[in-house]
């Protein structure tokens, strides 16, 4: 949203100029916030109002402000940003502005420019020629780049509670604890995902090995088959357990289908070896060596798989990006157009993804550990829901709601 502050002075109450200006803002689809108002006490006293006007586009704002000027609205001059040059590659100037993940604007040459992407823990680089402001990480910055310093000329717009409708993300109180009912919330989530798919949203799953180990893999496969997953973000372990489960029936030696299963502790190493021998997951699917499981479903249904490694990894299996900075870049790129994210049974990966999300991305975090859920949702106020529960019953119920929406609507 683009914004301008205007001031009205005079007999703006008796003349109905204030209500007229506010009406004009609203009827043109823009919004306002009265930052300050002083009403004259005596008949001849003049009144004063400072109004923050916001509009969807810079052009709409300019046109609106031009109209408001006719009725006496005067724009308030605001200061431009301050800039300093990066002293060397990979180093920001002292006192560089550190971004949040909220929508941010910088004022340069009297005009606001939106910082893209909305990415937390970055600096802001300004391209004077293109009049563009870019959120940059350390590895992105080159000596001499102009970087915003201090706080002058910066405006951050937190995500607002919608005034036109209430969705599940704004309706419930962010966290649903272990001892609270979840069915109604899961039903609503199912509807939200259906809406997302109808409106060409992009849904990403961030999955931990718990999905495979708890036996929730088959539910995720159904979700993929129904077309509700566009991208899968996971670590090496997730991929290894899924392949092990597909090839040997176990994940890290445990068989989710049997209460007691002996042996198999070496299966995950054999699974890695088989995929390495094939040259990758897609090849294994192609050669019909890998014929089931989550990754198989992803390959079959053309779901983007983004696998990144960690210190504890065995292997890794081919396709896992082990350079963490390279992995960050890939993840950011693959998250850029995502509208909905499900963070399922993983702490580290969820936190990494959550820190890269734009503030408007709707986020669902499911974990058995409430601390993990809290950390997963803290970056997305008004856009996230956390459920403290085992991921298996959550996914099972979600898939049922999506597969049979009539049941969900009957229960409503």
């Amino acid at each position: 949203m683009f914004s301008e502050t205007v001031e009205l002075r005079g007999h703006i109450i008796d003349s109905l100029i204030l209500p007229k200006v506010l009406d004009q803002i609203l009827t043109r689809g823009a919004g306002f916030k009265i930052a300050e108002i002083k009403i004259g006490q005596k008949r001849a006293d003049q009144s004063f109002a400072r109004i923050e006007v916001t509009a969807e586009t810079s052009e709409a704002l300019d046109e609106l402000v031009l109209r408001l000027r006719q009725h006496g609205a005067e724009t308030v001059e605001r200061a431009d940003i301050q800039l300093a040059k990066a002293p060397e590659d990979g180093v920001f100037p002292h006192d560089f502005y550190v971004t949040t993940n909220q929508q941010t604007f910088v004022r340069f040459d009297g005009k606001e420019i939106e910082v893209r992407p909305a990415m937390m823990d970055s600096a802001v680089a300004l391209d004077r020629k293109k009049r563009a402001a870019r959120a940059v990480k350390f590895f992105d910055v080159n000596e001499g780049d102009e970087i915003v310093v201090g706080h002058q000329g910066i405006r951050v717009v937190p995500v607002q509670r919608s005034t036109s409708h209430t969705d599940i993300f704004q309706f419930i109180n962010t966290m649903v604890d272990a001892d609270e009912p979840k069915s109604a919330v899961i039903r609503e989530l199912g509807q939200e995902l259906r809406r997302a798919r109808e409106e060409n949203g992009k849904i990403a799953i961030v999955g931990g090995p718990a999905i495979v180990r708890t036996g929730a893999g088959e539910h995720l496969v159904r979700l993929i088959e129904m077309g509700y997953v566009d991208r899968l973000f996971a670590g090496n372990a997730f991929a290894v357990y899924d392949v092990e489960r597909a090839l040997f029936g176990t994940s890290l030696g445990k068989n989710p289908d049997r209460a007691f299963a002996g042996g198999g502790h070496e299966n995950h190493m054999r699974a890695i070896n088989i995929i390495r021998a094939c040259g990758g997951i897609a090849v294994a699917v192609q050669k019909k060596i890998l014929t089931r499981g989550i990754l198989h479903a992803c390959v079959e249904h053309k779901v983007d798989i983004v696998l990144t490694g960690s210190i504890r990894d065995e292997g890794p299996i081919p396709g896992v990006t082990t350079d963490v900075f390279e992995a960050q870049k890939i993840m950011r790129k693959k998250l850029a157009d995502v509208t909905h994210v499900l963070l399922l049974g993983t702490v580290q990966h969820s936190m990494a993804v959550a820190s890269m999300l734009a503030p408007t991305v709707k986020t669902v975090c499911v974990d058995i550990d409430s601390a993990a859920v809290e950390r997963g949702v803290e970056h997305q106020p008004l856009q996230s829901i956390g459920l403290v529960t085992d991921v298996e019953p959550f996914l099972r119920e979600l898939v049922e709601c999506i597969a049979k929406p009539e049941n969900a609507s009957r229960e409503k």
Partner: protein, 269 residues
């Protein structure tokens, strides 16, 4: 006794087009101009007022419309800042004349357009000011600062009625004659809030500039062509003096545009 300022129409003519009434293809008939202006001068002179004349200047054809010279309250004169360069030359002559006649001249900032009594009329204890076509709303604030009175700003929406005195005429009994459609809904609403006994003028009569009237206590001097309004005013006890104004209507003016009160009010509050 009220004092009025008029300017003989020696150089009057349609020499440019700055409002929808003006067309250089439809010039004024000079003998008729003289006769109609003299009709106004004679009528006013017979009423309870004193008429002063400012010498006309060549190449300033609209100087005849003295209502746009400025706004006079007590011994203070706020000269106009004309929006159109065609009329800007009038301002120093009016200011000079007023100064010579003992008025204190209070200029508005040059960046604020304000067209004097044409856009500023007292009704009750409120100064009603029109804006958009000629005067800027921010000039009203400056006028309020100078005079210390309540100024109600109303938006004019019909370009034919480009000054407030073309569509609004306060009466001494606290009411006003007006053509509501010349104002936006907020302007209509605030005028209704502040004045009682408003007399709505029919569109066909408003088009004859019936609201452009000079009110001197119970006498009202107005253009011909408004029989319904005249009847209503007579019922209220006013004496109406309808005058032919066709030649001045060609420039978008009539009785009130040709007249400025000195002062319009003794005190602003």
């Amino acid at each position: 006794m009220r004092e009025l300022l008029l300017c003989p129409p020696d150089y009057y003519g349609i020499e440019y087009e700055i409002n929808p009434w003006m067309s250089r293809a439809r010039g004024a008939d000079t003998p008729l101009v003289q006769a109609q202006w003299k009709g106004l001068f004679d009528t006013l002179s017979k009423l309870d007022c004193q008429v002063e004349l400012i010498p006309p200047r060549p190449k300033l054809p609209d100087m005849v419309f003295t209502a746009n010279a400025g706004l006079t309250v007590g011994r203070r004169f706020i000269p106009s800042n004309f929006r159109h360069k065609e009329r800007a030359g009038e301002a120093p002559h009016f200011a000079h004349w007023m100064e010579e006649h003992g008025y204190e001249i209070v200029w508005l900032p040059k960046n604020l357009y304000f067209e004097g009594e044409g856009d500023a009329l007292f009704g009750g204890d409120v100064l009603f000011c029109g804006y958009k076509f000629r005067s800027d709303i921010n000039s009203h604030r400056a006028v309020a600062d100078i005079l210390g009175c309540l100024v109600i700003s109303v938006e004019l929406v019909d370009p034919r009625f480009y000054h407030i005195d073309t569509c609004f005429c306060p009466l001494p009994d606290g009411g006003a004659v007006w053509f509501p459609a010349a104002f936006d809904e907020y302007g209509q609403s605030t005028i209704r809030d502040h004045l009682r006994d408003l007399i709505d003028v029919a569109p066909e009569e408003a088009a004859h500039f019936s609201c452009n009237a000079v009110v001197l206590d119970r006498d009202i001097v107005l253009p011909e062509g408004a029989p319904k309004l005249v009847a209503t005013l007579r019922e209220r006890g006013y004496t109406c003096h309808p005058l032919p104004m066709t030649e001045f209507l060609k420039a978008g003016g009539a009785c009130k545009c040709l007249t400025m009160f000195m002062p319009q009010r003794e005190k602003a509050t």
